[in-house]
């Protein structure tokens, strides 16, 4: 595909993790096993390239559950397209980051 964004294996893992429902930073760290110094900059890059979008959770929801609000990430249309291409490039991606445990409360 012309103009397709090519991702490194690490970035593809982070994108796959977000797609699988691990939608905040620490959850992505847990499921991928990558350190914080890798995951957070990778998420900033993905957001800069408009592959993911971030949104803060409502304060009222977090207050009701007695915890600080989280910053959630979700895939954009371009992100989904790029992830499909990355899955073809890295066939084991879906096995490395399964979608069973969803990190959303």
């Amino acid at each position: 595909m012309a103009g397709e964004v090519k991702l490194s294996h690490t970035a593809a893992m982070v994108l796959q993790a977000i797609s699988a429902g691990h939608i905040y930073g620490f959850s992505v760290m847990e499921v991928t096993g990558l350190p914080s110094g890798t995951v957070y900059p990778a998420m900033r890059r993905l957001e800069r390239d408009r592959l993911i979008l971030s949104q803060w959770e409502k304060q009222s929801i977090a207050d009701a559950e007695g915890r600080p609000p989280r910053k959630y990430y979700k895939l954009t249309g371009l992100g989904r397209t790029t992830l499909e291409a990355s899955r073809r490039r890295y066939p084991l991606l879906a096995k490395l980051v399964p979608a069973e445990e969803v990190g959303t409360p």
Binding site: Y24, E30, P35, S36, G37, R48, G66, R67
Partner: protein, 289 residues
Amino acid sequence: MRSDEVVPSNPVHIVILWAAALLVPGERRQEWLAEWRSELWYASQKCSLELASRLGGRWQITAFCLGSFEDALWLRRNTPQSEERETLHLESPQHCMAFLAALAGFSMVAAFLLVLGTRLSISLADLYYGSLILIMPCPVLPAITSLSLGEFPAHSRLGAWKGRLQRGIFLTAKVVFIMLVVYCGMLILACNCVTFPPAVFLLFYGMLGGYTVALRWALNDQRGRCPVCLHLLTQPVALGARSRCFLGLNGTGLMCPQGHGFFHVPESPTSWFSTQRWLCLDSSYRGLS
């Protein structure tokens, strides 16, 4: 789960995050810190729930926090430089002077209070000889720092005595203020290290280095300003190719934000372009800015 069931954040972890936050550009710092503090809360919770050993759990959280430096550095590298520069507001000569004057004033007050507080028995002779030692590196400066400010063609706006006087006063004031800051800083250090004999030599070389850096900054700042309005030049553009340094220009071109002219800074001196050169533009170019 209630929040009070969670292990409270160690102050060391908070300090690590605050230290990393200093690297983040100002406009993004608050949100960045909020995200990391929130993530730290969840990391602490996870470690307590997994019944990790106390030391091992804390180390894991510390390693998690140390990752914030890489994130902060990434943000710093990928934020446009212009946004950072705007925070200091040194583009206009008035703001630059006000900032340096405030810094010099603060340094003088701090040095005065420290001398008054720690050396009540100090005599005027001590202060005089001490000041002489601190000022000694000044005559060395012209020998180790280039004083050239570039080539300026004869032009009505640049050649007028009023303009030259204005540029001279601005440069002199900058040099005086910045050297005053270095002087007061070294005086504060001298007061604190007065019982340590080798500190005198360290202070002497520190003063020499401090003055050199200060004067170089003042001269570089002066070179990077429009000679007409004294605003910092903007929009740097790379010109030419590095391999063509015989008769071609290889350097950077900058422009006055008010359209007074272009400034060419060569990457390396060549036979026809050895130093910075100012190109005046007439009023018909003002629309470009």
